[in-house]
């Protein structure tokens, strides 16, 4: 259901006082739940719930041909389907721009941070490499799908194992205990601007009220690096605002990474 202009106005007014409908502070996330190993047929899988938003991500692997300019590098293919099951807003049919953007945002974060070390996913130089498919399925959309999908993708990759390979063919349904070659975990934070206020983790209603958003993917090892950035939406932002958003993404991203790390420590691979 579309959010009424009256509701949008109220959301904007409340935010000027630093308040939200559900009592959160502007930069506060809803409750985050992460579950890995949710699918026995996937090489890696995760379910992430942020408030009422729920996303499933699965990793499947296959043997493919390398690109001619990188004969030893594996391939990463990120795909998202916005199922009409998850929201009234989603329609059946070929992927719409929202689904494509979601997949590309998650793809860019993983690719540019080199989280999956594709160079180590060659099998036979120039002939065979691993293809890593990351498939994103929202089950219920109540806002902030991007951050939820990015988190679920990283969780699924982190806990993924390689399938058994025999004569260069994947033995479907048989898994090794070997994980993927991974580097520093990227964290994706999307900052929304509603009226003059910055908000993280919006609900659907808040998302509808935002004119503009910026998605930032960062790693925080010894130093903070930005790996992917995307401004989206109809509004425009000043230079100062962009810098403020990056500051927010760094502070809040570090908090999210800490929570994520603690969760992963308690989790065994697949």
């Amino acid at each position: 259901m579309d959010t009424s202009s009256l509701t949008k106005k109220r959301i904007e007014e409340l935010l000027q006082e630093g308040k939200r409908f559900d009592g959160r502070k502007p930069l506060e996330f809803r409750k985050i739940e992460i579950e890995t190993g949710i699918s026995k047929n996937a090489e890696g899988s995760a379910r992430v719930r942020i408030g009422d938003t729920e996303v499933l991500v699965g990793v499947k692997m296959d043997v493919g041909e390398p690109f001619t300019d990188s004969p030893d590098s594996g391939a990463l293919i990120v795909n998202a389907e916005l199922l009409p099951l998850a929201s009234r807003k989603f329609e059946s049919g070929p992927p719409q721009i929202q689904a494509i953007e979601l997949a590309r945002l998650v793809d860019r974060g993983i690719r540019e941070s080199e989280f999956v070390d594709l160079k180590k996913l060659g099998i036979k130089s120039g002939e065979k490499v691993w293809a890593v498919f990351v498939d994103i399925y929202p089950i219920n959309d109540d806002g902030n799908l991007i951050d939820a999908a990015a988190l679920a993708a990283v969780a699924a990759l982190k806990t993924a194992v390689l399938p058994v390979l025999k004569d260069d063919k994947v033995q479907y349904g048989e898994f090794t205990t070997k994980g993927l070659p991974l580097k520093e975990m990227p964290i994706t934070i999307t900052c929304y601007k509603i009226g003059d206020s910055f908000v993280l983790d919006p609900t659907s209603q808040e998302e509808d009220s935002a004119k503009v958003r910026v998605t930032v993917t960062m790693t925080f090892d010894k130093e903070t690096y930005i790996h992917a950035l995307q401004k989206s939406g109809e509004g425009a932002l000043s230079e100062e605002e962009i810098l403020e958003i990056i500051k927010i993404a760094e502070t809040e991203g570090k908090k999210l990474l800490k929570r994520f790390d603690e969760f992963l420590k308690k989790t065994a691979p697949k």
């Binding site: 699918s39 996937a42 499947k60 795909n79 059946s92 498919f133 399925y137 959309d141």
Partner: protein
């Protein structure tokens, strides 16, 4: 193993289904939703509607249209399924619609549609049956007028034994005859209405004698009765959070 002595790998009795889990209210945005699983085969279903039907030329001024859509997550199966619809999913969507229609009372809602979206989260055979069971529960959860439930199960003949609720491993069962590996499984997914025990889904592939089919249908009827009880029980447990 000879044909006569088929024993189920998981130790189940021939008329025993895998562990069933059923609950409603799993997708908050939907008007009705449900989860149903037979062991490792898990399905969710969401119902949206009744709502205005587009495209307009499909509208019926006398009644509401039922439109089911079945699909699988790409990673629900061992070899990645290419995202998006296929000939298989189109056919299953169609037979699912026809399996559910007989219990729905859709008259008097002109030019509307009830959309049922079924997604297989994890597949281990019998996914269309799990999908139908979830869909029937989701429709009830959405408050769509219904004359009873629909329950589905796949009955199989493995070797010479009639069994309920096949797994993928059982579906792939072969016997060696004259040094040749041959498929020795007949798969018969079927659905029954809870009131009146009418058959609303019946498909078969394999090789079976008419008297064996009779036995299979009798077993399906018995098992579906139990499934209907589980569905009905789950429908009553409505999530308190749902408005």
């Amino acid at each position: 193993m000879t044909e006569k002595t088929y024993k189920r790998a998981d130790g189940r009795d021939p008329d025993e289904t895998r562990k069933i889990e059923a609950r409603v209210g799993v997708i908050k945005n939907a008007d009705g939703s449900a989860f149903f699983s037979f062991g490792g085969s898990q399905a969710i279903a969401a119902v949206y509607g009744p709502r205005q039907l587009h495209p307009q030329h499909l509208q019926n001024p006398e009644k509401c249209l039922l439109r089911c859509n079945y699909d699988m997550l790409s990673f629900s199966v061992t070899e990645r399924k290419r995202p998006g619809p296929s000939r298989r999913s189109a056919e299953i969507s169609y037979v699912t619609t026809k399996a559910l229609e007989p219990v729905l009372q859709l008259e008097g809602l002109p030019n509307t549609v009830v959309d049922v979206y079924i997604m297989i989260l994890q597949a281990d055979a019998s996914t269309r049956c799990a999908g139908i069971n979830a869909a029937a529960m989701a429709l009830a959860n959405a408050g769509i007028p219904m004359n009873g439930l629909v329950s589905a199960v796949s009955i199989g003949k493995i070797g010479d034994t009639i069994v309920a609720d096949l797994t993928k491993e059982e579906e792939d069962f072969t016997v060696t005859k004259g040094g040749e590996e041959i498929k020795a499984v007949t798969d018969i997914p079927m659905a029954f209405t809870s009131r009146g025990n009418k058959i609303t889904l019946l498909q078969l592939d394999g090789k079976i004698k008419p008297e064996e089919l009779k036995e299979a249908i009798a077993l399906g009827k018995k098992v579906c009765k139990k499934i209907a009880e589980i569905q009905a029980e789950a429908i009553k447990k409505v999530d308190k959070d749902k408005d």
